[in-house]
Assembly symmetry: D2
Homo-oligomer: 399 residues x 4
């Protein structure tokens, strides 16, 4: 990304910049997920990483927007008898996608009851650090650039542990994880306000995430999950600040009405999504040169999973298209004039515009279906895999 | 409960009213529970309702405060070969406790994916209504007075269903459930802001719960769960309003920093608990004549379960003791004088008072241990049941 | 309003129902307002109710949507030497508008430091009740149907006053206010979560407002101010519930990111506004037969006031137009099929539609400017009144 | 402050460390303040900085805890004919107190309608920077160390201004302000979530404040106002992080139930205050060597002002006393054992302890009244100044 605001593409189609934009899908979104009360299962849900990648590839095939799939370790480990990650990477290539970020899983081992990288016991911290070494191996095997770390550590009760001691232990563990990276690899550090811990999280906000990144070095960048903030937080402000600090590494997109609801991105507050993407465009962060990775992180419980991912990808595309349509010279003129309502009107003009036909035209021109959701339904894919994927265990929240 | 404020017990010990106060424990609190990310298991966790009742009885034995255990159907169904509910009720009597409210479980059947009593399909609504008939049978078998209904129904996406149609169907289903009650039985209707649904809940607030109770009749009353409100909600105000309307049936006590965290009551905001209990005392609702049932509803994931329940019961007792110590004549005098800070000081004087020794004295006088937590640890109970309860399946969130 | 869902206008333009829709403007929105830190003044701000009515009439002249102006007593009292309310009503008629609701002001008298209708002292309560008698006189003089009551009463500190005693006094005062109404008049009772009181409000939520309305009688209905809820509250659910109870009397429209920010309606979350208006349309409450009054209640501090009201009126019209475009048969079909994403898509299709040209066409057909904001700017009205309204004291928050 | 946790004072009174602890009072707390709806006035309210200092000195005289008074420029400017700041500093000395931080006022000039240090126009930014030069002059005249900057800048509407451009201009202005400091002076930079701006604030959170401090240099530190966070924010975690980064410069203490309610510190959530002070003690930040300044920042509208400050000072003392009583070795042992409930119990034991008698004993030993509030009431001070301070204009929110 550059320090200069993006120059308007003179005489060109502002939507042309969509050509270079892509979204990364998480493998686990195609498995079963849900709430603490119930995880509902669905016919056709994948039973292994290969089937997850196939489902993800459908989304890319129909939209041209989602060429990468991120994995979650150990959920997506590939046993040697199935060919290991070489086989998975080859399968992805065949399906027309590639492997994206590698996520380390730090919340499902009994040892992690009181934490992982910030755990009071060195033995457990070492185990968590070693798990990242395994993840880096997967990165090398799959050609992945990004090691993504969401730290579920925290405490449930005041006094349960020393907040300061946990932070010092965390900083030490992160140094060790960082040292595992090859040149060119990045460590993406996510923050979250609460859940699964309910008194304190060890990385609850962007300030904490950034503090650790600054201490680690240039390869450490922040992940912003749109569902991980307190009510009323101005998320696009944080986007702007992290871009300004050159430390916004990635998004986990989803949406929420209450807490970390993990609904489809753009479903709860499409205007917020537009505002976020407007800040992205303001700093040219939608272009590949920014190295900002746009990922989905959603939990489909009652809705069909592939279709939920399709809709989400299209929501991001739509929001970005509108952001690209903002009349930047008019906006800047209103800013200079101190015209409060005029400036707001310029922004809202873009938001109010219905871009669906233009996006359908663009798809058609690229050999993609005008309506990817309808095309997916018509394809019979879901019926086919529902018939094929019988027996075995569906991938789920806990597997 | 009466319309008159409680008269100060002239010359007497204000804490004497604690003698009549009791708390109901939920059977499921002794099983494993947790978050959507992980349910940690613990040694000694009960495998059936009998063992749950035994654990609950420990809490009563050590505190004298918790003589009832509420059940959850179907989790606590007793098969005929184990003697059915007659056997469970007898077991409870032997352990010195009795069976309290019967909770209907409306969230773990695959049919309930889109709701239960408010489901679009009549077939599913009928099934949910029939489940309450089963619960009423359990009430008759166990001598329970209260049918407790927490409705997890709702929607995740705007437009997913008609909010109005859901409400009309719900009202109809509730009429049918209400018709199942014997005279003297009560229907307790709980409300919750969100989770497991993330756009709308069909009973999200006390206004909705009360609206349904008023439509149903005098046997329908509201359950207030202290974790089921939006941030910043003044819960004690709602307590006051429901008591004023003579429709506060029960509490589900727990505490929260963020959402429905289900931590131990009094752990997150002991001053809020005190304020709630002050409103209770103001309207004599701590006395049995009020028929308000004080229940715990907590989710112990990382903390030991029996000890967590012990601490919670003691927290409620401590808060109530402080509320009973409020100098009511001084408070009223300050109110009449419009003395803002003086009135606040009177309330805070009671809150600031350390009542632990007085409560220990009261326990000792009743043949109970001064320190129930220490007595429990010293008893070796947990070690004993951990050794005994080997094999079988531990009761858990989903079982 | 009716119990039946609105029948689709077969073959007709769904937007035709906009013809019967109107919005009421508050007189005070044209005066200076702001935050506790600063009220900024602007050239041309009205100095009396006549000038406020003239400004409000501009909005109606340009949009055809805002034929009524509500007054605030005592801010808008008209001295006899200026002809009293007869003169003001005549002035309004000349300007093409009429007088709407009469708002009682209960927060600016030194006597109201500890409350008004719920004040501990009978003398103060009597004063507040008498103020409503004065407001009813204004209603008779101006032909107003609605007495609008926002109660700022509450407490700042726990214990400051008895929550229950305040509620009992409030109920008594409301009975006396209600008794003042002529047949056909309505008492609109607003609720608010917090501010100006910071511990408890005496009418904090819709449950409390509805409880009082039910106790008073059919002429008492609830006012829903979109800025008066806790974060994350599902406001459209409350709209649905109040319509179902036949007790939704009016809206105070505005928008918010944090608290009661009082920004222009539709500015912070246009999708929420659409969802609210969808519930309105679902129960035919946009039609005059519903008797729901749609009012603005906003606080323009840094933005130009007439233009701010124009934009707000247009935002409501736009949201309602989109709600009228929802394909109700398709929506119902998706509901019956349990098609979560399909139903959401139907709703979102309407929301995504750009209705601005259709609304401009409608305006043109009715002899109104296609772009009311541009027409207002071009009219030179603001420059003219800025030159004319020199001397005197601008109407302000406190006057 | 040191990097090591505080060593327990072997064999000594843990409360002895209170001897070195002090709280700074804001001059404006003794004037009238309130909400946007009404500022109530009170008899005896000061009319100038001299009278404010006298009132503040009463609090120190009775508690021994509040030896400094912070000023607010231009509210507390002293005209030459009254002797300028030399006279005010001398008056403070006579009253037994000294001048603390100097606050710059950036919200009451008409030029600041769209911001001050981040304003789009260079002319306005220069004016705001020059205002800080004036403040630094006052610091030199009064011997003050701290320049305290709360930035009210922000926007009300999305698109109103460029978030990024505002941030860049702000960074530039802050550099110029920082350059004004003498060696040994500090720039305290406060953050606030919202109000007076309702879409974006230019310094909304600790991450932004810290980012600017790191860019400026070692003399720039963060101010944490306890009322300036989103609901559910874990404030003590931020305290810990800022101490760890050696950038916690000061507190603005107050308390809140909803937004920036500015109630007396400890009134809304005394347990939160205790947790904050526990983190302070954990890192020895209550000792003067930490250079953390503990200030009050409250808005007394309906409560008496001097008494409100007295109660607040005593609340902080009480919370700190309890934090000093935490059995640190037992706490650390529980941490090492992973004893969740045991560790929580250790913390709660200290919180539950009633320290009022011990604090009264300490006061008596130091020649102070056991009950400062009662002593203040008995002193007749308020009646005396109410009789004396007649005529002139009471200091108020806006003056």
């Amino acid at each position: 990304m550059t320090d200069q605001p993006s120059a308007p593409v003179t005489g060109g189609d502002p939507l042309a910049e969509l050509d270079e934009f892509s979204i990364e899908l998480p493998s686990w979104a195609f498995g079963n997920a849900g709430t603490r009360f119930k995880v509902f299962s669905s016919p056709g849900v994948p039973r292994d990483p290969f089937e997850k990648v196939s489902d993800a590839a459908q989304v890319h095939r129909l939209t041209g927007l989602a060429p990468r799939v991120s994995l979650h370790i150990p959920w997506d480990l590939v046993p040697d008898e199935r060919g290991g990650f070489d086989a998975l990477a080859a399968h992805a290539r065949e399906e027309g996608v590639s492997i994206g970020a590698i996520n380390s899983n730090l919340f499902q081992d009994d040892d992690y009851r009181l934490g992982s990288l910030a755990h009071p016991e060195e033995r457990v911290r070492d185990k968590a650090i070693a798990h990242h070494a395994q993840c880096v191996d997967v990165m090398r095997a799959t050609g992945s650039r990004d090691l993504k770390l969401w730290l579920p550590d925290g405490t449930n009760y005041p006094g349960q542990d020393s907040l300061r001691a946990r932070q010092d232990r965390l900083a030490d563990s992160l140094q060790q994880v960082y040292a595992l990276l090859d040149p060119g690899m990045r460590l993406l550090i996510e923050y979250k306000l609460f859940e699964p811990s309910f008194y304190s999280m060890d990385i609850p906000d962007w300030g904490t995430s950034l503090t650790h990144c600054l201490a680690l070095g240039d390869q450490a960048v922040v992940v912003l999950d749109t569902g991980h903030h307190a009510p009323s937080t101005n998320i696009e402000f944080i986007v702007m600040m992290l871009l300004r600090a050159k430390r916004l590494g990635a998004f986990d997109f989803n949406s929420r009405f209450y807490a970390d609801d993990d609904l489809m991105v753009g479903a709860a507050d499409p205007f917020q999504l537009f505002r976020i993407l407007h800040e992205i465009v303001e700093q040219d962060a939608h272009l590949p040169s920014s190295e900002v990775s746009f990922m989905l992180d959603q939990c489909h419980n009652i809705e069909p999973k592939v279709r939920g991912q399709l809709r989400s990808v299209l929501n991001v595309e739509e929001g970005l298209a509108k952001a690209l349509l903002v009349d930047e010279p008019a906006l800047r003129a209103a800013h200079e004039a101190g015209d409060v309502l005029g400036a707001n009107d310029v922004l809202m003009d873009a938001y109010r515009t219905d871009v669906r036909e233009r996006l359908a035209d663009r798809r058609e021109a690229r050999g993609l279906p005008r309506d990817p959701v309808a095309a997916f339904t018509a394809s019979g894919y879901l019926e086919r895999v529902s018939a094929e994927r019988v027996g075995g265990t569906q991938a789920s929240w806990g597997a």
